[in-house]
Symmetry: C2
Subunit: 350 residues, 2 copies
């Protein structure tokens, strides 16, 4: 492993000059630069990033902590982060918490020790501990997709608005009894989506039956369980709103096993699209978040902070979710049995 000293000797210059060439910093005469570059090539020299980082206090590395690397939504986000970072000469270390706060905190500590320059964090729960730890160390941070209870730079999708669109769409199809298959109560995306549901129901003059709102977590198994539960209710809901893609798939599976057809017997909508690549025939009506773009934008915000944008304004960037109407909600329901229910305006786009 050649070091900067060997290169310097080989080129007949001082180590500092080699450093200037590597980092394109300071003045180096054209001829000197060439000599150094030739020496670097001849020796196959590559700088040791640990030493660079130790000395310069910058690692050109960002930490990305997310909750489920298995979910295509998050891998798409990761690509957005990665692309934005590498465009700026940064690399990304990706960590997967499995929705566990313990793992999240562990990874945050590790990355801090590795001296990453900044964080994009998808918090496993509505808790400020990890965020606080990172900020105490003075490392820039953007919270992604989920809210935490303290003010901090954030990039997220419009969970409330997207849910509102989905439920309005169902209402327009004639549904009145709509169940929510929710995620973890401690996660803002779950509660915000329920809030959007409530608002849409309220605007339609409908009262919400609490038995129709369930909270579990963002998994297949939870979707399966919640779907089975609400279908056993009397009267059963005519439509289901799954607050994420995995819950939706779990629910669809439960419905299939129970011989319940979608959309003929029950309609279904969900938050988060499944990527094209996973599905032969797109079928679910969804509120699709611009995952890639969100990741990209969060990273650009982070890089701006790194570049010294010390404006004390805390930014909260909220990107709209797009309503995509497909077959799973295409079955119209007859006029409500309840004559007191107001009509809602028809609208398939938000």
């Amino acid at each position: 492993m050649p070091t900067i000293y060997y290169v310097a000797k080989h080129a007949g210059v001082a180590p500092a000059t080699v450093s200037r060439v590597i980092n394109d910093s300071g003045y180096v005469a054209g001829e000197t630069r060439e000599r150094v570059e030739r020496a670097i090539a001849a020796l196959g020299y590559a700088p040791n990033r640990l030493a660079q980082g130790l000395r310069s206090k910058q690692t050109q590395t960002l930490g990305l902590i997310l909750t489920d690397i298995t979910n295509p939504f998050w891998t798409t986000v990761a690509r957005g982060v990665e692309d934005a970072a590498s465009k700026a000469g940064f690399s990304v270390v990706l960590c997967n918490t499995d929705e566990s706060q313990a793992k999240q905190d562990q990874y945050a500590r590790l990355l801090l020790q590795k001296q990453v320059d900044g964080f994009v964090l998808v918090p496993a729960c509505n808790d400020a501990e990890t965020v606080t730890r990172i900020r105490e160390r003075g490392v820039p941070l953007v919270v992604f997709d989920r809210r935490v209870p303290i003010p901090v730079d954030t990039v997220r999708g419009d969970s409330e608005g997207g849910a509102h669109s989905l439920v309005r769409h169902l209402l327009a199809q004639g549904h009145r009894r709509i169940a929510v298959l929710g995620g973890a109560r401690e996660v803002s995306t779950a509660t915000d989506r329920v809030a959007g549901y409530r608002r849409a129901m309220g605007e339609a003059g409908l009262t919400v039956d609490p038995a129709l709102i369930l909270y579990r977590d963002f998994t297949l198994a939870a979707g399966d369980e919640m779907a089975s539960l609400v279908l056993a209710l009397d009267p059963a809901p005519t439509a289901l709103f799954a607050v994420n893609n995995f819950i939706a798939i779990g629910a669809l599976r439960a419905l299939r096993d129970a011989g319940v057809r979608v959309p003929e017997d029950v309609a279904m909508v969900a938050f988060d699209d499944l990527p094209q690549a996973m599905v032969v025939e797109p079928f679910l009506t969804v509120a699709a978040q611009p995952a890639y773009q969100m990741g990209h934008q969060a990273t650009e915000l982070l890089l701006a902070r790194l570049a010294g944008d010390k404006s004390d304004k805390i930014l909260e960037i909220i990107l709209p979710a797009q309503l995509v109407v497909r077959r799973s909600s295409s079955h119209k329901v007859g006029p409500s049995l309840n004559p007191f229910v107001k009509d809602v305006e028809l609208s398939h786009q938000n």
Copy 2:
């Protein structure tokens, strides 16, 4: 940011003693250790990994370079790697090459500069350059899933055998005209799977129609294109073999658009399963590779090399692919029109 010196001063000991406590190396008296631990806690000290790595020449970090983070097969592998690594106190840096050799080489260089202790590499193509570069630096390396033209530790699925099972299964269903929707010609998994196809056909006494073997790449678009091409042949194949999951989905989509039913009009099998989470109703007959386990095992091999297993034996670990028969190939075809075709033994399991 407290350093080891502050901690030492705070505890009234020398920095080296603090180091001994942190790393649990050397002898430290119980009472001293406690004092140091209290100081660490009081100051919120955490060691700087850059400095540790620079000094000790070990980063406790592995590099994982793979070709498509979007594909659930690879994210599952990544989890296997991650779990095996963290059990041993290593962390993993994941890099996505998008099947680009240029990106692969770039990431290898970067990780080398970051002084990772070892690599798990999924080569983007059948080329030894990256592998050679890594070995020249003396960094242990396990090649994953695909072969490269030089001998090196490898963990991979049995592509040839899995393809053989799939095609035998199709033959047992009565198919004789079977098309292969192939991946990149430069990637061993693509060519090995074609080899398995050829062997199965040969064993059944069938000659292979070269028009039925296509090579593109491992994407949806390629699957779509290849399916359209082979269906236009005269006579058209009665069964399709997609050499990976994404090709299969692309092909299924093309078939749907063309109004061709699976399995009634044409049968379909594929290499690599889609994870449960992605599909409501498992439908495709596949040769499933144990992705998680493969990642785990590759990492354990790598860690063994790191731990000093310098046995010069180069290991090539080949894990079997499991034939999973589902609906997409369940339609039997009548006796061959060609009376000279031999019967093959019936067997649904390999």
